[in-house]
């Protein structure tokens, strides 16, 4: 499997560390909503098909990437810096009120 790091180019999967389901939404730090915390810590999507994942280029530039990978074929349809994905910030801020 090759992952195309936007910074380093196509690199072998051995250089990357899987950092989990990219759909997780972290509640506000002070949130006391235990259901939301529970969902964030334990609930994982497990689709047969395209999956939104976070991978760290730990053996390279160490950036975190948002990778869409097909769990049936390992085909990767997109990679982008997770940092550049401002939605992730916006999403968790809008998600619940402390």
């Amino acid at each position: 499997m090759l992952i195309t790091c936007p910074y380093c180019g196509p690199r072998d999967v051995i250089e990357f560390t899987y950092q989990g389901d990219g759909n997780r939404q972290r509640p506000q730090p002070a949130s006391q909503n235990l259901d939301a915390w529970n969902a964030y810590v334990y609930d994982r999507l497990n689709p047969a098909g395209d999956h939104n994942e976070i991978w760290q280029h730990s053996g390279g530039c160490r950036a975190h990437l948002r990778v869409v990978r097909n769990t049936l074929t390992h085909e990767i349809s997109s990679t982008a810096f997770a940092r550049g994905d401002h939605n992730s910030v916006a999403r968790h801020r809008a998600e619940d009120k402390p």
């Binding site: 499997m1 090759l2 560390t17 950092q19 972290r26 509640p27 730090p29 002070a30 949130s31 006391q32 235990l34 915390w37 529970n38 964030y40 810590v41 334990y42 976070i54 760290q56 730990s58 160490r62 950036a63 975190h64 074929t73 390992h74 085909e75 997770a82 940092r83 992730s88 910030v89 968790h92």
Partner: protein
């Protein structure tokens, strides 16, 4: 001259004699021989004993698919089992032994297994040994009783126990076109692709390139095919854009056109060349792959088809033509197709007598009648072989009239005297890699074979016999076309090489089994008979995958190479379904056996990476026993002559508490946390406050995981307003770094913080004890180190022996202690200066054992207690949980299960019988040594405490705090230890910290 060596011919070097032994007996062969061909040349036909019945077995094939003749090769003390004798190239001094025989190959006591054939029929293990224990001779407990004997009787070769000193390596390669297989198809593909300028890798599992051309006896472009392929390979070798890999088995086809291959670099050599690894594991990324893996001949299933002397027709042809060896003097042939006639003729030409050709087909083509006539054999068309005769070698076989449509036998059986019987049940394309790479194989009724599926996501093109095109002319044409299309080319009008070959129709008659009385083997390697397959059907196994597991058909090294199609055909007949509806198993990697050493490669042995602290050489030179902790090496003790480990660490710890001791702490994880939001970030990451920490001070910090469990601890030093130096435990340095990076990059990208791993930039020495401050005062310049300048948790900058150092006063040992950091390159310089300054004060160096002892005496936690299951409260660190701010884990740490009163909590344990305690031992309440039960928890760390004069331990015990002062027992049945203990506070020594505060 060996008894069965032909006068001339073959690819062997008859001028070079090689000496080797098999089962202790000396033999000779020629350079170019395999162990199989050399032994056959010496008249040896018995190679091994079968898996379950211990039947005598000979050589069935001439290549990688050999299921019978598996041998163990010995190199000194190192033994490698289960290698096909057909794949072992002989060298001077080769020592090979047969397998699965007791006491010897010729006289095997377990051969009586076959007398009680029913005893070991399909499913024997499941039926007899699985399930509840009912009666004395059933069930799992019975299995445990019998296992030793059965494992000895049934099985393949024994693995060795000696350390393998061979070196293995891994290699990554990239190419435009990987060609797998170097028969005429593969050679043409490689040539066409390289003509286009593509980077080509050509992998061939045999020592020679050329595949079937080496023994086909055909002519290509007017020259012997063997010469033609030799010349073609020679031309490729000279090209810059071609890499030839002989003795290289491509065994796995993975995502993204990544293929795995094993190159056997030195197995054929008496001694490896300088720097040569034994095996090389190739990871090959290919834009495009040409699969030219050829095909495998199938056995026919008939009673006694496993007797030594019965072999595949092409194998005998290959032994005669390529190795100059006759597998017998009087040869019979049993076939359902035309291809085997050429083999009979080749053996005749090599000097054997062909006594009979038995063909299940009632009518032979005129071409086949002509070929048969040239062999001068008696022709039995419309006949079948119904039995073989002989003991450990074939002496003859019986034929009877056979009706292909009904499978019925009729007329009188006739015995024919022969010492070798060739069989051919048609050919199966070697589709293993294509099957690994994609969809299901497709059954072809005409060819009676599974053809490779169409490529799905992988980029491969097939050529030659692999695609079911069995003639050399087709292979050449398809190979060239594949080479062009693999590079995106469109072909060439140049003429193709001209092939002269024996005539023949490649389509076999659909006959797989002759049903007559006696054991007819489908899977030779696992002793699976046709009756076993039918038994599985009667017992309700309808899926081919279940059939495989129940009967063990096609498992182990065979992987269905020889047994797959006959097994399916018999199952299909039993089910009354056509073969395509029964389906086939999906082939999985590896195609052939792969050495574990090649998979480990440089991650094992001399090439394994190791991390050494800047002071490593000093430790070794000064008597340290080094201990490997992850990749790091750390001093365990600095032992004196004659000291035990315990005596050494007790001496080191006692000297530290009496005067001073020093330990190398360079392995601690160190992370620079810098930026305007660094303090805010640390407040979120640690359970306690860091924004309130003054510049020039350090603080002990605790991190939790998101789920509220303890993660890591360490001190973090504020070097400037926006500049922190975080330390982590040695083991968690990498994990903590990733944890911080994840939050900064993904969760809180708005924080202006940068983290940098600086573990390797700093050398650290921790010096502690009543005299530590005096020692420092004697060697540090540029700063005072008294209580006013350097209070507890204070940081100063100064110099030692002309080198800038940073000193923080903090303590792990419980003594007045200081951590002295310098640039890594000055580590030894500063360390030696401290040693010198410490001499008048009796300074000792101490290792991990004394470090552990002193931390246990103080009740500090490490990875043994922060084990991923404990909370801050369990470890009595709840005083560190800030209530003023949220932090990672704060929301989840108060969940019901994490605050329950019966959780395991940290306690101290004192041995009351003055006997040592052991890590992992249980703490129990009841005095019941014979039947220990009701574990309260377990010991996490233990030592002899010189400060207390007792054996003590830390433990995690249910409701720990409430049990302080109570008695219990340590129970350690594995080490035969049971004894009384007292549960106490984990702070054994100097609980109010007066020593370190000074």
């Amino acid at each position: 001259m060996s008894p069965r060596r032909t006068e001339a011919g073959g690819l062997i070097d008859r001028l070079r004699t090689i000496r080797f032994t098999f089962d202790g007996a000396p033999y000779t062969g020629h350079a170019g021989d395999t162990l199989a061909s050399a032994l056959l040349a010496n008249g040896v036909t018995l190679f091994g004993r079968s898996f379950k019945y211990h039947r005598p077995r000979g050589v069935l094939t001439a290549g990688v698919e050999e299921p019978n003749a598996l041998v163990t090769v010995l190199r000194g003390e190192v033994r490698e089992p289960n290698i096909p004798a057909t794949m072992v190239e002989i060298y001077d001094g080769l020592t090979a032994i047969s397998q699965n025989r007791f006491p010897s190959l010729a006289w095997d006591v377990s051969a009586v297994n076959q007398l009680g054939g029913k005893l070991l029929s399909a499913g024997f293990y499941y039926k007899t040994f699985m399930g509840p224990v009912i009666g004395p001779l059933k069930g799992t407990r019975f299995w445990m009783f019998c296992e030793h004997f059965i494992r000895r009787a049934a099985g393949l070769g024994k693995a060795g126990t000696a350390h393998d000193t061979a070196r293995y390596e891994r290699m990554n390669a990239f190419c435009d076109v990987l060609v797998v297989g170097s028969g005429p198809a593969g050679l043409m593909a490689a040539r066409a692709a390289s003509d286009q300028g593509a980077r080509v890798i050509l992998a061939e599992l045999e020592p020679h390139f050329g595949g079937s051309a080496n023994w086909s006896g055909e002519t290509i472009d007017g020259m012997p095919a063997a010469d033609w392929v030799g010349r073609a390979a020679g031309q490729l070798e000279g090209r810059d854009n071609v890499r030839l890999l002989p003795r290289t088995t491509v065994w796995g086809y993975y995502d993204g056109n990544t293929l795995a291959a094993l190159e056997r670099v030195t197995d054929h050599k008496e001694t490896p060349g300088k720097g040569e690894p034994r095996h090389r594991y190739w990871t090959i990324r290919a834009k495009s792959v040409v699969l030219a893996t050829g095909s495998l001949e199938r056995p026919l299933v008939f009673p006694g088809n496993d007797r030594p002397g019965v072999m595949l027709a092409h194998a005998a042809e290959r032994f005669a033509t390529e190795y100059g060896v006759l597998p017998g003097d009087r040869i019979g042939l049993f076939t359902n197709n035309d291809s085997a006639y050429r083999a009979a003729l080749a053996l005749k030409k090599a000097g054997a007598v062909v006594v009979a050709i038995v063909d299940v087909r009632p009518e032979l083509s005129s071409e086949m009648r002509k070929l048969a006539g040239e062999t001068e054999a008696e022709i039995f068309s419309g006949h079948a072989v119904i039995a073989t005769e002989g003991g450990k070698a074939l002496s003859g076989f019986k034929v009877q009239r056979f009706d292909m449509a009904s499978g019925a036998l009729s007329g009188d059986a006739r015995s024919i005297h022969a010492d070798c019987l060739l069989m051919s049940g048609g050919w199966s394309p070697t589709i293993h890699l294509a099957s690994q790479a994609g969809a299901k194989a497709e059954w072809n009724e005409t060819l009676q074979a599974f053809l490779p599926p169409k490529p799905t996501t992988q980029q491969w093109i097939g050529a030659g016999a692999f695609t079911g095109s069995f003639s050399t002319a087709e292979a050449i044409a398809e190979g060239r076309a594949a080479g062009f299309s693999a590079t995106g080319g469109t072909g060439t009008p140049a003429a193709l090489p001209v092939v002269e070959a024996a005539p023949g129709d490649p389509d076999p008659a659909p006959v797989f089994e002759i049903r007559a009385s006696g054991k007819s083997f489908v899977d030779f390697q696992h002793d699976v008979t046709a009756d076993d397959v039918r038994l599985a059907h009667r017992e309700g196994f309808v899926s081919v995958e279940h059939l495989k597991r129940y009967t063990t058909l096609g498992m182990a090294t065979d992987q269905g190479k020889s047994s797959n199609i006959p097994g399916l055909a018999i199952m299909a007949e039993a089910l009354g379904k056509p073969i395509p509806q029964v389906g086939t198993t999906r082939f999985r990697p590896p195609f052939a056996a792969v050495s574990i050493g090649s998979l480990a490669a440089e991650r094992f042995g001399d090439l394994k990476p190791e991390r050494l602290t800047p002071m490593h050489d000093w430790h070794v030179a000064n008597g340290a026993t080094m201990y490997s902790a992850g990749l790091w090496y750390r001093p365990m003790i600095y032992g004196h002559p004659g000291e035990t480990i315990e005596q050494a660490y007790v001496r080191e710890a006692r000297a530290t508490r009496e005067s001073a001791g020093m330990v190398d702490v360079s392995t601690l994880g160190k992370i620079a946390v810098q930026g305007p939001d660094a303090a805010e970030f640390l407040d979120r990451v640690y359970t306690n406050m860091f924004s309130t920490l003054a510049v020039g001070k350090a603080r002990y910090g605790l991190m939790l995981r998101e789920d509220g469990l303890a993660f890591d601890d360490g001190t973090t030093w504020r070097l400037g307003e926006q500049d922190f130096l975080m330390t982590t435990t040695t083991a968690n340095a990498g994990k903590v770094m990733q944890h911080l990076e994840y939050f900064l990059d993904v969760i809180w990208p708005e924080l202006k913080v940068h983290v940098t791993s600086v573990t390797d930039q700093w050398a650290g020495a921790a010096i502690g004890g009543p005299k530590a401050r005096q020692i420092l005062a004697g060697c540090v310049s540029g700063t005072a180190v008294d209580n006013a300048a350097l209070p507890f948790m204070g940081i100063v900058h100064g110099e030692i022996a002309g080198v800038p150092v940073m000193i923080c006063r903090l303590s792990f040992s419980g003594e007045m202690a200081f951590e002295v950091y310098s640039g890594a390159g000055y580590g030894t310089h500063v360390w030696e200066a401290l040693i010198e300054a410490g001499k008048p004060f009796g300074l000792v160096t101490y290792g991990l054992e004394a470090l552990g002892t002193m931390r246990i005496e103080k009740g500090h936690v490490t990875g043994a207690e922060i084990d991923g299951r404990t909370t801050a409260r369990d470890l009595h660190l709840d005083w560190m949980l800030s209530k003023k701010k949220p932090f990672i884990g704060s929301a989840m740490m108060d969940r019901e299960g994490l605050i329950a009163p019966d959780r395991l909590e940290l306690v101290g344990i004192v041995s009351l019988d003055n006997q040592p305690l052991n890590g992992g031992a249980h703490i129990v309440e009841q005095l019941d040594e014979a039947n220990p039960h009701g574990s309260l928890g377990h010991i996490t760390a233990c030592c002899y405490s010189p400060a207390l004069g007792k054996y003590i331990a830390l433990a995690l015990v249910k409701g720990g705090k409430t049990r302080r002062g109570s008695r219990a027992y340590v129970s350690d049945p594995l080490r035969n230890r049971f004894g009384p203990v007292e549960i106490v506070s984990n702070h054994f020594f100097d609980p109010d910290g007066s020593r370190m505060h000074g």
